[in-house]
């Protein structure tokens, strides 16, 4: 048995948002009498941590702590319209809508604070910890909770904000394909290392190491979660998964996870990443979408690594042990043929 090692490189771009725009997200924010802010949305948390990330954006934009923000989402009786959680759009679209709503809510807070603190609006500032301060007068400050209560019971006002973000829908020229298919582009570059067993055709992925540029990380641990999970999915696509193993023949379709192959914990390689931040011009705090792209660059990096390990070029997915063994056999035959034809009678 020989284990051949190889390294493969790939680089990708990925667009943020529904490709032709026209995909709005709205947010409504209101303050409760205790100074908490309810952020009403209709976006979905798929497990990627959207509630957390949007909570961070709302807290930042409102100038309050995370504990003072309640995310109420995906109830169509209370949440305003949202196109949905897909197309690497949610943090970008919803985040922008939340910032817009927060700005309106802050203006409403400042209206009350002007009266309560008897200060000019230009002298008021948020400290980001739940207070509004009078610049240069440290003793004159008020808790946002007290301003919200005063708004409600003393002035009879609402502390609320509305926000929406939409990239306007654009058409495609059917002749030339001219179109505006993104809001911004994130980038990744992956280096994969593999070992290929020449007896069994099995591929062991030794490492997947990537650089990602995602505009701005709202929550680095959750970005890393996408990168690690995406590397697993990319590896799974490259080497294991399909619902129709004999495609285009539709037969032998798996019914459950005992028949549908995926890598388990034992197969997981070392996954490392560095994340760069070059803020986008239109994302909330410069965000670009990182949700989908993380599965993409590991696939060709692994397939290229298999080539550099074995000399077998495989242009189909998944790369099964059978494909590798057939490729190795073909190479061996070709080498024997070459040997025969280049060993003339001399």
């Amino acid at each position: 048995m020989v284990k051949l090692r190889g390294t493969g490189l790939s680089a990708v771009n990925y667009p943020t948002g529904m490709n032709l725009g026209g995909d709005p997200s709205q947010a409504l924010i209101h303050a409760t009498t205790s100074g908490s802010f309810v952020v009403s949305l209709s976006a979905t948390d798929l497990g990627q941590g959207l509630r957390t990330v949007i909570g961070q954006i709302a807290a930042e934009a409102l100038g309050v702590g995370m504990d003072d923000v309640v995310i109420d989402t995906a109830d169509t009786d209370t949440g305003p319209h949202d196109m949905g959680t897909f197309a690497s759009r949610a943090t970008h679209r919803v985040g922008n809508a939340v910032i817009a709503a927060a700005q309106e809510a802050r203006e409403a807070l400042l209206d009350v604070a002007e009266d309560e603190l008897e200060a000019a609006r230009s002298d008021l500032e948020f400290d980001g910890q739940g207070n509004i301060l009078v610049r240069g007068a440290p003793d004159r400050s008020m808790k946002i909770a007290d301003i919200a209560a005063a708004a409600q019971f003393k002035y009879g006002r609402t502390i609320a904000g509305r926000g929406v973000y939409m990239k306007p829908r654009s058409p495609v020229d059917p002749e030339t394909g001219a179109m505006d298919p993104d809001s911004t582009e994130a980038h990744a570059c992956t280096v994969a290392e593999v070992a290929v067993d020449t007896d069994t055709g099995e591929v062991t992925v030794l490492s997947i190491r990537s650089a990602y540029e995602v505009g701005r990380q709202i929550n680095p641990a959750l970005v890393k979660g996408q990168i690690v999970g995406g590397a697993w999915m990319g590896m799974s696509h490259a080497l294991y998964e399909t619902t129709q193993p004999y495609y285009p023949d539709p037969a032998y379709s798996p019914k459950d996870f005992s028949e549908y192959l995926m890598p388990g914990a034992y197969e997981m390689p070392k996954i490392e990443c560095v994340v760069l931040e070059y803020p986008s011009s239109n994302g909330p705090y410069g965000v670009k979408g990182v949700g989908e792209m993380t599965a993409n660059s590991p696939i060709p990096a692994i397939v290229n690594a298999i080539y550099h390990a074995t000399g077998v070029r495989i242009d189909e997915l998944p790369v099964t042990p059978e494909l590798i063994l057939r490729g190795l056999d073909a190479r061996a035959r070709a080498a024997r043929l070459a040997e025969t034809s280049t060993t003339p009678d001399s």
Binding site: G84, R169, A178, V191, L276, N296
Partner: protein, 446 residues
């Protein structure tokens, strides 16, 4: 990071993390309701067939059987999920009428007191089907004489009069003629399941005020509500969708499949109805990532510059297009990858076959483009005699470059990202690549 930031940029713990890992988070089917009914589907056992008859008589005698729904019960039975954003024509049947176009296509919905009773009744429905020739291969589906899957006479989605999404930029053939090398590949990929931990599911509950609350794990509550309102021909204000906590989507929960039938069943029975996919339905019936065939031909100069690319792509949409037409447009916009290629021609076909429909999945239209592009890059490096890193830097796009779909590049950071990756793996780049940036090229520069 800006020093003014308080919480943005911090790895605060997930607000729902403790609930998820302790099992206290309530997912869609964790809810229970008194009088809950279960909906299961009678599906086509054949890939393509005419429906001659459906006999429910034995199914109706199964203890616990409540009622059956057929296409005659569905007010707007033929729909297109992207109709909401203007995509035409309407093509998919909520419940099949006279023909089934894929194995697993829904024909009858059975509503019963228990899941077991529903499955038992499903098994006792007798179908009289006349098998029709089926097509499973994308290029065969486009040949004259192929079995026609659609109701409009050919097997492609039509893009404003064209059978494919086109991109035309520069003069590809002239550039091929002057290229030093031609590098070609045919890339084939198979269907892939989104494989979320939680299968697609909803529970529709009739409320005392005449409305219906639908608990769902859709990725898009309004998209699902609006499509359900169209299919059931009810005002949107009759429907109240509640979701937002989903055990994985990956694109598998943007087709509106379970909500319309569960809500219809709740309307017909005045009882809560649960419709949840089994794992085998998730794998064998619900949408997959499309299988792709991508022909890619690149014209390359001896110094490694790619001067032309021609792409012909086929996505196997299966029997209905669902989100796939949009994926082809996204594919066409990205088939040049993050590279500055001055001559590009792309034809991207959404092809109908007698296969379970494909639809959205993470990387929608781009994942397999990236696979083909990046294996091409590796081949080009070998043909030209450079290492793969060099080919990537030589061709990397910069701000201000024109993409084939005629949008100027902005927010380009490919070069910086590759430099960081080289640093991470300890690959020493030559000085000229270390000095490169994604900034706009000098006027007249290349």
């Amino acid at each position: 990071m800006s020093p003014a930031m308080n919480v943005v940029g911090r790895s605060v713990p997930r607000s729902d993390g403790i609930g998820h890992v302790t099992g206290r988070t309530q997912f869609t089917t964790d809810r229970s309701f008194p009088g809950l009914l279960h909906l299961k589907i009678v599906r086509s056992p054949l890939h393509h067939a005419r429906i001659l008859g459906v006999d429910l008589s034995e199914a109706e005698r199964v203890p616990g059987f409540v009622r059956a729904l057929t296409h005659a019960d569905v007010p707007h039975n033929v729909y297109t999920i992207l109709g909401l954003i203007g995509v035409e024509p309407e093509e998919e049947f909520v419940l099949a009428e006279d023909r089934v176009r894929y194995k697993g296509e829904p024909i009858v919905a059975i509503v019963a007191e228990s899941e077991d009773a529903a499955l038992e009744a499903v098994a006792r429905v007798k179908l009289d089907l006349e098998e029709l020739p089926a097509v499973f291969e994308v290029e065969e589906a486009l040949r004259p004489g192929a079995p026609i899957v659609t109701h409009w006479g050919n097997n492609t989605f039509m893009y404003e009069g064209h059978p494919c999404r086109r991109v035309r930029f520069g003069d590809v053939e002239a550039a091929f003629a002057r290229a030093d090398h031609i590098v070609e590949g045919v890339y084939n990929t198979k269907p892939i399941e989104q494989a979320p931990t939680e299968t697609t599911a909803c529970i529709a509950v009739p409320e005392a005020n005449g409305r219906y609350t639908v608990y769902t794990n859709t990725q898009a509550v309004y998209f699902s509500l609006d499509n359900t309102a169209i299919i059931l021909q009810v005002p949107g204000n009759k429907l109240h969708f509640v979701g937002g906590t989903v055990g994985g989507g990956f694109g598998g929960k943007v087709d509106v499949i379970v909500e319309p039938l569960a809500t219809l069943a709740a309307m017909k029975t005045s009882r809560p109805v649960r419709y949840a996919f089994s794992r085998s339905e998730e794998m064998q019936v619900s949408s997959t990532r499309s299988a792709w065939r991508i022909y890619m031909k690149d014209g390359v100069m001896a110094d490694g510059r790619i001067i032309a690319r021609k792409v012909t792509s086929y996505a196997d949409s299966g029997a209905y297009s669902r989100q796939t037409p949009y994926a082809l447009t996204k594919h066409a916009a990205n088939a040049a990858g993050p590279y500055a290629i001055p001559n590009v021609s792309i034809d991207a076909y959404c092809v109908y076959t007698n296969r379970q429909p494909s639809s959205a999945m993470r990387g929608f239209g781009i994942t397999m483009a990236s696979f083909a592009i990046e294996v091409q890059m590796d081949k080009i490096a070998e043909v030209v005699g450079l290492d793969p890193w060099s080919i990537h830097f030589i061709n990397a796009y910069r701000d201000g470059d024109m993409k084939p779909h005629r949008k100027l590049v902005e927010d380009a950071t490919l070069i910086e990202t590759m430099q960081a990756a080289a640093g991470l793996v300890g690959h020493e780049l030559p000085a000229r690549f270390r000095a490169m940036t994604s900034a706009r090229r000098p006027e007249g520069g290349v």
